[in-house]
């Protein structure tokens, strides 16, 4: 990789720092985050390298990969970091920025699940796992996924088929639209 002032995107890093409220420069690459990460084996860039790439302003390399989408948000890294780098928040910020860029990542299933989850909130106010799972399977083309679990869950009363009306629906919609407006006006990242 060629490193120069023009290839190091410091603005992007500042955005990540603003969103996550944590310093990227503070990391001294001890690797403790990667050592304890339950998902590190699934990532092409282990957590410490994600921070390293940020330190070098190489965000494209991060967003193009699936590492950030394979973070389980278990907060182990943040908890154990000797330097108080809140890596879980950095991951949140990176996903947000990737999300805004409409997912240059190869990882689509996690993004799809997230998208459906948020849509569910906006439409129903609460989560209905049955619906979520069904729509996910349809949209991801995995019609048979977890097929065996379904009937058992229904028989145990674990998947609710119907949802109840929430009085606060308009309020929820307003939160969504207000945030959208703030972003349009540049008042929030």
């Amino acid at each position: 990789m060629i490193i120069s002032q023009s290839t190091m995107d410091v603005d992007f890093v500042r955005k990540v720092e603003a969103l996550s409220g944590t310093s990227v420069r503070r990391c001294f690459q001890c690797g403790k985050c990667s050592a304890g990460c339950p998902m590190a084996t699934f990532m092409e860039h282990p957590p410490n390298r994600v921070v390293r790439l940020l330190q070098l302003g190489q965000w494209q390399r991060i967003l193009a990969g699936r590492s950030i989408w394979y973070c389980a948000s278990c907060e182990t890294c943040s908890t154990r970091c000797p330097n108080k780098v809140h890596l879980a928040s950095i991951m949140d910020a990176l996903r947000k920025l990737s999300w805004d860029a409409e997912g240059p990542s190869k990882e689509s299933y996690v993004q799809l699940a997230n998208k459906l989850f948020l849509q569910n909130i906006r439409t129903y106010g609460r989560q209905y796992e049955m619906r979520l799972a069904a729509v996910f399977n349809v949209k991801s083309g995995q019609f048979l996924k977890d097929l065996m679990l379904g009937p058992k869950l229904i028989s145990k009363g674990k998947l609710k088929m119907f949802h109840s009306k929430n009085k606060n629906m308009p309020e929820i919609e307003k939160i969504f639209t207000r945030i959208e407006e703030m972003r349009k006006k540049g008042e929030a990242l």
């Binding site: 339950p38 907060e75 908890t79 989560q127 209905y128 679990l149 606060n168 939160i175 945030i179 703030m182």
Partner: protein, 293 residues
């Protein structure tokens, strides 16, 4: 004797769906312990992991609004789900720290922020507010001989300085509660490892791998069953257990209880009132063997 304890209650989406037995057993146990529990009217989803994963502002706003709704009901806010608990606590923490974010959230929910209300996980209420002594005094059927692996998961204690439920790395609150109701707890290595709940829907393969390690460790430590305080952990450990056994060709047969179910059992609540029938891994043989039914 302290005055009667009263709480507002935020069950969270799962407790109204896949984790109905957690909701049921919580309500029944609190009734038995004479602790008041009033559900927050028309609460809505806290956003859970997907919201903060891609949109922190949305996550903070949803939680802030729910915290505001909770103010309608008197008492500290009792939360059953570890994920909701984590989100609500994180929101309080982040908004107290960052002026910028506080202003943005105020604008988004268009209401005054209520950040000083106390958010408490059920565990805290049982172990601290009610107290282990009073809890022990309510026990009618001690869980003698039941060896339990207490599973904390990720979100109950982490990260530093946010949930402040117990020591982040070496908590004992679950064990304390279980010892108070007469159960045995096992020391095991994976009580705080992640089960990968975030990927239940999108990447079940990952979940199976992580959850297997947890079940394996619990079994190795000689546990009869696992206890959790989170519907997502429960979903993976209980609902997927059969599938995991199939994939790894093992036989765990570890019933996975909610904390309220085990404590309820000790306090003499019936199987129906605790929703034990809703558990996928059938706990009845174990409970019969230990003469707890």
């Amino acid at each position: 004797m302290k005055d009667k304890l009263n709480y507002s209650y935020y069950p969270g989406c799962s407790l109204h769906a896949s984790a109905g037995e957690y909701d049921l057993s919580t309500r029944e146990l609190f009734k038995r312990l004479s602790i008041g529990l009033t559900e927050v009217p028309d609460w809505f989803c806290c956003g859970a992991t997907p919201a903060h994963n891609v949109d922190e502002l949305l996550s903070l706003s949803l939680c802030a609004k729910n915290l505001e709704l909770a103010e309608q009901v008197e008492g500290d806010l009792a939360v059953a789900c570890a994920a909701c608990f984590s989100r609500l606590k994180t929101t309080q923490h982040v908004l107290a720290e960052s002026d910028v974010k506080r202003k943005q959230v105020e604008k988004a929910i268009d209401a005054p922020l209520k950040l000083d209300g106390k958010v408490k996980h059920l565990l805290e209420i049982l172990a601290r507010d009610l107290g282990l002594e009073r809890l022990a005094a309510s026990v009618t059927k001690p869980l003698a001989g039941l060896k339990v692996a207490c599973y904390y998961g990720c979100l109950l204690t982490r990260p530093n300085d946010v949930p402040n439920l117990d020591c982040v790395e070496a908590p004992t609150i679950m064990e304390d509660v279980l010892k108070a109701v007469g159960a045995e707890t096992v020391a095991w290595s994976h009580r705080m490892e992640c089960c990968g709940a975030n990927f239940t829907l999108s990447r079940p393969g990952v979940v199976i791998q992580l959850t297997n390690a947890i079940l394996e460790s619990a079994k190795e430590a000689g546990a009869d069953c696992v206890m959790v305080a989170c519907p997502l952990c429960h979903g993976n450990l209980d609902i997927r257990q059969k599938e995991i056994e199939g994939v790894y060709n093992v036989n765990y047969g570890l019933p996975v209880f909610y904390i309220t179910q085990l404590v309820g059992l000790a306090c003499g609540l019936s199987s129906d009132k605790l929703g034990l029938g809703a558990l996928i891994v059938n706990p009845m043989p174990l409970l019969k063997e230990k003469q707890l039914l």
